[in-house]
């Protein structure tokens, strides 16, 4: 019980943080031009890799993790819960999903579920899906890497992402 309440406390702060956008993928050689729009949401500290930054978990907000996930999915047109971060995925399936999504030049928002066991289980029960990565597009649960690859190959992903990509161009 101690551990449980401690982690609840720790994870409350998540709610105050926007999911990390593509701006995190500011690695030379990667295409992030469209994602740059979002760089205002991330402190501009080129020397600080996100993996090593304190994650502000202590910031209190009163939102439950379920609320956090709901908010993520509602506010981010393309949301991925993955193992690792988009520029350093820690699982081949997460890497594949990111690689597919990056083909479309849409802003990609991500959370690393390896950092948060509680977030991980919150996402699992939210989607009723047991594995990661998990991808949501415009609030709709899409599935994991097999499905995103399939939708890519069938052309359905292009349709789903069309308006998001178009918004990127007009702004």
């Amino acid at each position: 019980m101690m551990a449980k309440s401690l982690s609840n406390l720790l994870f409350k702060g998540l709610a105050g943080l926007p999911a990390t956008r593509t701006s995190r993928i500011m690695v030379p050689g990667l295409n992030y031009q469209h994602g740059m729009r979002y760089s205002t949401t991330v402190p501009n500290e080129p020397d600080t890799h996100d993996d090593f930054k304190p994650t502000n978990k202590l910031e209190s907000s009163g939102l439950s993790l379920k609320d956090v996930v709901e908010q993520d999915v509602r506010q981010n047109p393309v949301m991925i819960y993955m193992k690792g971060v988009p520029d350093v995925p820690q699982c081949g399936f997460s890497a594949l999903a990111v690689r597919v999504l990056k083909l479309y030049n849409v802003p990609l928002s991500a959370r690393n579920i390896l950092e948060d066991a509680e977030l991980k289980s919150a996402v699992k029960s939210f989607s009723n899906w047991p594995t990661f990565p998990q991808i949501f597009i415009k609030g709709e649960f899409i599935g994991g890497s097999d499905i995103i690859l399939n939708l890519h190959q069938s052309g359905e992903l292009k349709e789903k992402l069309n308006d998001i990509a178009a918004n990127q161009k007009t702004e």
């Binding site: 820690q90 699982c91 899906w129 594995t131 599935g143 890497s145 499905i147 399939n150 939708l151």
Partner: protein, 101 residues
């Protein structure tokens, strides 16, 4: 690896096969243990080895079901395995018609 399944009566692949077969009446079912490809995987450290699988399944029950639904059907059949250390499955789920093409 001789040591891998030492305390497991049946390999996970075999259990998965039985469960999928009975839940989904598969007309074709291939299960491949690819755990070795994920050996250094952060989430896998400390678990017994049988963590990642490729599943190719053909079932008439997928007829008219979306991909998400088909995957859910596979996950549902494997719920116990997922709770006992199975981390990831790459799933190809088709209907007999789709494979006939």
């Amino acid at each position: 690896m001789a040591s891998r399944g030492a305390n497991v009566v049946l390999s996970r692949a075999n259990r998965m096969k039985t469960k999928l077969q009975s839940a989904l009446s598969a007309s074709s079912l291939e299960i491949e243990d690819v755990s070795h490809q994920h050996a250094g995987h952060a989430a896998v450290k400390g678990s017994a080895g049988e963590t990642h699988f490729n599943v190719k399944i053909v079932s008439p029950k997928f007829e008219g079901q979306s991909l998400v639904k088909r995957h859910r059907m596979v996950y549902d059949a494997l719920a116990e395995e997922l709770q006992s250390g199975l981390h990831a499955i790459s799933i190809v789920a088709k209907t007999p018609q789709e494979t006939g093409a």
